[in-house]
Amino acid sequence: MGVVLEALNVVRHFGAVKAADNVSVQLQEGQTVGIVGPNGSGKTTFVNIVTGYVKPTAGQVRFREQDITGLEPREVTNLGIARSFQIPQLYTSLTILENMLIALSIRSRQHWGFWGPLKSADRVGEATQLLARFGFADGIDQRVSTLPEGGRKLLDVALSFALGPKLLLLDEPTSGVSVDDKFGVMDTLMEAMKRSEITAVFIEHDMDIVARYADRVLVFAEGSILADGDPDSVFANPAVRTHVLGEGV
């Protein structure tokens, strides 16, 4: 299994805050990686740097051996890295189906078409199928603004997934999802990932979810990686227990 993503000594400071302090990490193809860490430890910054939203002050990011440091989000996305957002980023005045159709038209590079309809039978069929995989069956003609937070979260992920990425970065996919639904949502997501052989990275605060779904855990603290390994060994690490799990040792 080859290396999909590689960060080399990535640095990014916001004023006095070290959001990324010499971060180096390699992600293998097909891995499911959980990222944990306290607020402000640099988890989202890591995702932002990889996807080009934030430019690192120093260091390099490589995706499948290609240097992608400093590329725009659009360019990074087109290389095969998609992401979802902590706060869902959707087209709220359009319907669920229309959101998906736009994603599909962009993936097939047909988004510049101005004559044929967006809602071609083929595209609608594909979108409906994809949405069904994420649990959207009835009411895909509803405007996104009518969706509850959990539904938005899921749609946000579904849209990133629809882009057909090699690497998918999920920023807190289950925050805002009710406790009862969390595992259901993650089951749906992980099943879809595995089937499409996507390397998945997810930021998560719920340790039960990380323990259950991740086969590798990265612990961030103050902009660097405090621990890295399989869930069992990482959660056994005393430093992690103090910093992340908040156990007064």
């Binding site: 659009r74 005045s93 319907t95 736009i102 993936r107 988004h111 004559w115 405007r143």
Partner: protein
């Protein structure tokens, strides 16, 4: 990476620029307004909508034959030509971009036709001149658009105005070329090869412009339902997501802008041909303001709305000037005020309410959409 520019007080950008009270200007709480946004589209054209469109078209075709006075035929010809420019403005409004400088394309289309005739362009027919106007608009927009596609909100609006005022100065100062304030007389010798007797010229022009309007409306309708059309609505909602889907926001705006410029040029050339005389005023900022005014008056709820708006605008102006030669702008302003207060979706929304077109899908949920979304969504409802 751009921040969602709507945050630049863009909630009621247009209202601001027209000096209308911010924020409250276009807020209406009526949920039936949702009908206009066309958020949900049935896959087939709504039969009722199609019938309504055909009925209007039949009326427009027949009206001159049923005794519409000649001056009104002329007035509507000019109104429809202007409506084409407004249609271009409305396409941009979908992406929440208020072009306060479409006089630029209006003038360049008109002057392309006028200058071509003066320079001895061999085809003195209305059709090639209209094509020339549209081309001139598209070419100019493809240059100006390179700059404008980087800006949003008030910056986009003001920069548009700046470009149109540059053209205005040029038209004014390059006397040897443009005749300055004297302008240029535009005399065509035929329309689509027809050389009607003098008393039928206006009528011929009317049908010629009407035919081009029908073609343009169909084009705009296809664009609104196309991936690019939806992408513009996506840009209006969330630019960040558009870029994170791998599409270029700037390029989408650029393409729409070029199309919009072509429509502006076409409208300008048709006005020049119809009126028979052009002057630098076409590029003056008040001309651009007029187009935005008409866009608001008609509403952006449908591709037909600009033409309703333009027709009513010209009528109101005509009578207002007659009733009160010195303060007619005040009457015009009052009309807009009434529209904003009682029909924030524009005149078209009134029409739709009368015809009874309701949301065809389930999108009209109980929640109320923010005024911004409601105002600009061009109907791609079919």
């Amino acid at each position: 990476m751009s921040v969602k520019p709507g945050s630049l007080g863009g909630e009621s950008g247009v209202g601001e620029e027209l000096g209308v009270g911010q924020d409250t200007a276009f807020r209406g709480d009526r949920t039936d307004e949702q009908a206009l946004t066309g958020a949900t589209s049935s896959p087939r054209p709504s039969r009722r909508g199609l019938l309504a469109a055909l009925a209007i078209l039949a009326l427009l075709v027949l009206a001159p034959l049923l005794g519409l006075p000649s001056w009104l035929v002329f007035l509507f010809t000019v109104a429809f030509a202007k409506g084409l420019v407004v249609l271009g403005v409305v396409l941009l409004l979908r992406g929440d971009l208020v072009s306060f400088g479409h006089g630029l394309y209006y003038a360049i289309g008109a002057y392309a036709a006028g200058l071509a005739l003066r320079a001895g362009f061999p085809l003195r027919d209305a059709f090639p001149l209209a094509v020339l106007g549209a081309l001139a608009g598209a070419v100019l927009a493809s240059i100006v658009g390179l700059f404008l596609a980087r800006y949003r909100g008030i910056f986009f609006g003001m920069l548009s105005t700046a470009f149109s005022m540059i053209l205005y100065s040029l038209l004014l100062k390059l006397y040897w070329l443009t005749g300055g304030t004297d302008g240029i007389a535009v005399r065509i010798s035929s329309t689509l090869g027809l050389q009607p007797p003098a008393d039928l010229i206006r009528l011929t022009q009317y049908y010629f412009v009407l035919a081009l309007v029908v073609g343009s409306v169909y084009l705009a309708y296809r664009v609104a339902a196309s991936p690019l059309g939806y992408l513009m609505r996506g840009i209006n909602d969330n630019e960040i997501r558009v870029e994170y889907m791998g599409a270029s926001v700037r390029r989408a705006i650029y393409r729409t802008y070029v199309l919009s410029g072509a429509l502006g040029g076409l409208g300008g050339a048709l006005t020049a041909i119809t009126v028979g005389h052009i002057a630098p005023d076409l590029a003056y900022w008040t001309a651009s303001g007029e187009f935005v005014f008409i866009a608001l008056l008609g509403g952006s709820g449908s591709v037909f709305a600009p033409f309703v708006g333009a027709g009513v605008f010209e009528l109101v102006r005509n009578y207002a000037q007659k009733a009160s030669p010195y303060t007619w702008q005040m009457l015009l302003g009052s009309v807009l005020l009434v529209i904003i207060l009682f029909a924030p979706g524009g005149l078209w929304s009134v029409f739709e309410r009368l015809v009874g077109r309701r949301p065809t899908g389930s999108a009209g949920g109980p929640e109320k959409r923010p005024a911004k979304e409601r105002r600009w969504a061009l109907s791609s409802k079919r």
